[in-house]
């Protein structure tokens, strides 16, 4: 396992969260300690071990490709912070 090189400012941008300088400094210290702790996993020999994604031995679950009732438009829009003409409004992405 590589040594922790966490750059909180860079990762916060990947995660699309603004952080204050104080939060960045605090997280840098706190998460640095957490990463030091999880370094212990490098002691484990996993060279012949398959990863577990989840606990059940199932992979894909399919059903017939048939339309089924879902949320009505009104219910689906009820929580949208901005909406117009029966559509969710998104902040402009193209000029």
């Amino acid at each position: 396992m590589s040594s922790p090189e966490l750059d909180v400012r860079y990762v916060a941008n990947l995660a699309r969260i603004d952080l204050s300088d104080a939060e960045i400094a605090q997280f840098q210290t706190q998460l640095g300690r957490v990463l030091e702790y999880v370094e212990q996993l490098s002691q484990v020999d996993v060279s012949h071990v398959e990863p577990t994604a989840h606990a059940n031995d199932i992979t894909n679950v399919f059903r017939a490709d048939e339309a089924k009732p879902g949320l009505e438009k009104k219910a689906a829009l009820a929580n949208a912070p901005r909406q117009a003409n029966g559509l969710v409004m998104v902040t402009k992405v193209v000029e």
Partner: protein, 482 residues
Amino acid sequence: MEIFDLSVADLQARLRARELSPVDAVNALEERIEAIDPQVQAYLSRDLAAAREEAARADVTLPLGGVPIGIKDVINVLGEPCTAASKILESYRSPYDATVIARLRAAGAVPFGRLNLDEFAMGSSTENSAYQATRNPWDLSRIPGGSSGGSAAAVAAREAFATLGSDTGGSIRQPAALCGCVGLKPTYGRVSRYGLIAFASSLDQIGPFTRTTRDSGLLLNAISGQDPHDSTSLDQPIEDYTALLGRDLKGVRLGIPKEYFVDGMDPQVRANVEAAIKQCESLGAELVEVSLPHTEFAVGVYYIIATAEASANLARFDGVRYGHRADAPKDLLDHYKRTREEGFGSEVKRRIILGTYVLSSGYYDAFYLRAQKVRTLIRQDFTSAFEQCDALVCPTSPDLAFKLGERTDDPLRMYLADIFTIAANLAGICGLSVPCGFGEVDGTKLPIGLQFLGKPFDEARLLQIAHAYEQSTDWHKANPAL
């Protein structure tokens, strides 16, 4: 005895005998909540009129007919708030019922009240709620555990007959232990998560908080079973989880995992758990020492896998379809970044950052993939242990309830509070916590939990074992002086 003192089973008997009506039950809880919740602060909101109306229509002949049940504020109930104790969902109203809610209603139960939690179920003390800090009913200066602290405190304080919570790394069992009630985490795949706000999808399970093991089985009967809306729910035979209750422990082999009795655990916890295990032996159980050799790695694996999954699950909170949206964003990137900065609390941000980091290019193999491989070894530990025994018995939490504020500045120390509960989620097995006595700090009694861990889909047996122990003690009858 007051109405609010009744177990679910006793309440049902009264309802069916027409000595009480479901509306009486709702009213009794409301009165109790008004009297003590200003101190306990378990409830975030409740819709009394809707609950009374539903209670008035309830069919008491159904399995949970007329029984009010409190809901962790992370499970959708049509028309009600579902805040996840986060500012980002402050104004959200659920447009549908979670499957567990639809099933509770089909069984005649009345969802009543929204219970506090650590924001997005991330925490072990319920102090990470954006709204309020729930108190431990046994000592109001102490935490109730978490993340389902409101669900546990409400049952312990007798301001709910039973509640639902969710358990990703111990969030049902640990608060149940610290508040002195019964908390059950079903096997991964046993209960549908449709309508549960997702935290870590390979670990999350919904389960009940109750005052007795029998009530726990009654609630699991109602909520379990495959659901086409959750492809991880499994097609297992429908069982009556109360069917084995009353059988004794003769011939039952209980494994004691030696790694779960560590230096640094509270000596009163250790003493009570050891006495409880002796009690199981005196009831006929055969004790065998077993080893779960990868236990020390469980917390590290968990905080990689759970944060990785959370960082992906919480990407949906983007201020577009629901939830908080930042004012006057200058472009879409600014919209996302300020919406999430303003909406999420500190611990949620911290975990999203960690999860994003362990999944990021260059670190995925070193952290996430390695954690998934160690997870395999942790699962195999349990498979081997269960070849030697029917269930495992151990402490639920290494500590008694701690003081509010004691650990909020030290995330790592807070994470280590889950050391005995996390492995069950990683392995996908079932587990429950049942009261096994009290410690005493500064003259105040604080509950201690005994944890039983069972094989996948062996909840009926797990409840049988816990019931046999519970019925040989009076611990579950003790109530806080509220």
